[in-house]
């Protein structure tokens, strides 16, 4: 492309690369010759130079307030800092919870299941053993319930009126 004459297709990309110092020697000569003749490109070049200068000065101004050495030191310290003991223990507990909460829940459920659903064992001996008995009685019956082997002691009193037994068993 002949850049020595102003055209509608002036290469703005080439201008930007010229401004950024990225062109070869012969390209620099070409663009300088073109800009000397093309007022549009000269104007674009001036505007871009102005903008680039303002941008650079603004960045430099901002950077001047930053202490990069201190920032680098802080970043390194943070990277190298180890969590304290209590943090480690807390993290371990949180990790352990994944195991022991389900384990404890399962164990509790099993205990409840066996407590609720395990049938009560039948006693192997009667609830009471009668060692002796005496009194104004005509008879005594000792029984035991079939389910829980609960002892029943039934006595028939002798009536004070006529000396006859008046109790009666109803089994």
């Amino acid at each position: 492309m002949d850049l020595n004459k102003p055209t509608a297709t002036c290469d703005r990309g080439l201008l930007n690369r010229y401004l950024d110092g990225e062109l070869e020697h012969n390209e620099i000569k070409t663009i300088q010759d073109h800009v000397a003749l093309c007022e549009d490109c000269l104007e674009v070049l001036k505007r871009n130079r102005l903008f680039a200068g303002a941008l650079k000065s603004a960045v430099a101004r901002e950077q001047s307030g930053i202490n990069f050495d201190a920032l680098a030191t802080r970043v390194l310290m943070r990277r190298n800092r180890r969590p304290s003991d209590w943090k480690i223990r807390l993290l371990e507990r949180v990790r352990l919870k994944r195991f022991y909460i389900p384990a404890v829940s399962f164990a509790t459920a099993m205990i409840l299941f066996f407590v609720v659903y395990t049938p009560e064992s039948v006693p192997t001996s009667p609830s009471a053993i009668i060692t002796s008995f005496s009194g104004e009685i005509s008879s005594v019956t000792i029984m035991e319930t079939p389910n829980n082997r609960q002892t029943i002691l039934w006595f028939n009193e002798i009536s004070a009126d006529n000396g006859k037994a008046h109790g009666s068993q109803n089994s």
Partner: protein, 148 residues
């Protein structure tokens, strides 16, 4: 101050609590339910549901009515008394605990005369039902529960 607190702590855990436990163990807790069983209109006292389930496997009464309920806490050799219907009295004396059973001496008195006496050995957390005296239109049952 710290030493005093430590002494109190040691006293509480090694003297007071064991002494309390031993004291509690030497006591026999007894509950006596007096029930009127009869063949009147069907009635099952809701407070006697467990007992009635047991009694129905032996008796054919249709009505079980709770007349009274008494709780006693007796030391060995101490006698407790429960007033029963018909000017009767039930005397209970724990004689000790042997072989996992509490030995109880029971005496039923009527007009201050002992009409029935027995010695039983009752399993812990268990009961015996003593029955026989006629009362109104039925018979009296005394369910005696003991724990120690």
């Amino acid at each position: 101050m710290a030493a005093r607190t430590a002494n109190l702590f040691v006293f509480f855990f090694f003297v007071f609590i064991p002494a309390t436990i031993l004291q509690a163990e030497s006591q026999v807790r007894i509950e006596v339910k007096t029930v009127l069983a009869s063949q009147e209109a069907k009635y099952h006292d809701p407070q006697l549901s467990n007992l009635i389930n047991e009694l129905q496997s032996v008796f054919r009464y249709t009505s079980y009515r709770l007349l009274s309920q008494n709780r006693l806490s007796l030391a060995t050799g101490q006698t407790g008394m429960v007033r029963l219907p018909g000017r009767r009295v039930l005397k209970i004396t724990p004689a000790g605990v042997r072989g996992g059973r509490a030995e109880l001496r029971l005496a039923i008195l009527k007009n201050k005369n002992a009409v029935f006496q027995t010695v039983i050995r009752l399993r812990n957390q268990s009961s015996i039902t003593v029955g026989g005296p006629k009362h109104q239109k039925g018979y009296l049952l005394f369910n005696i529960f003991a724990s120690y």
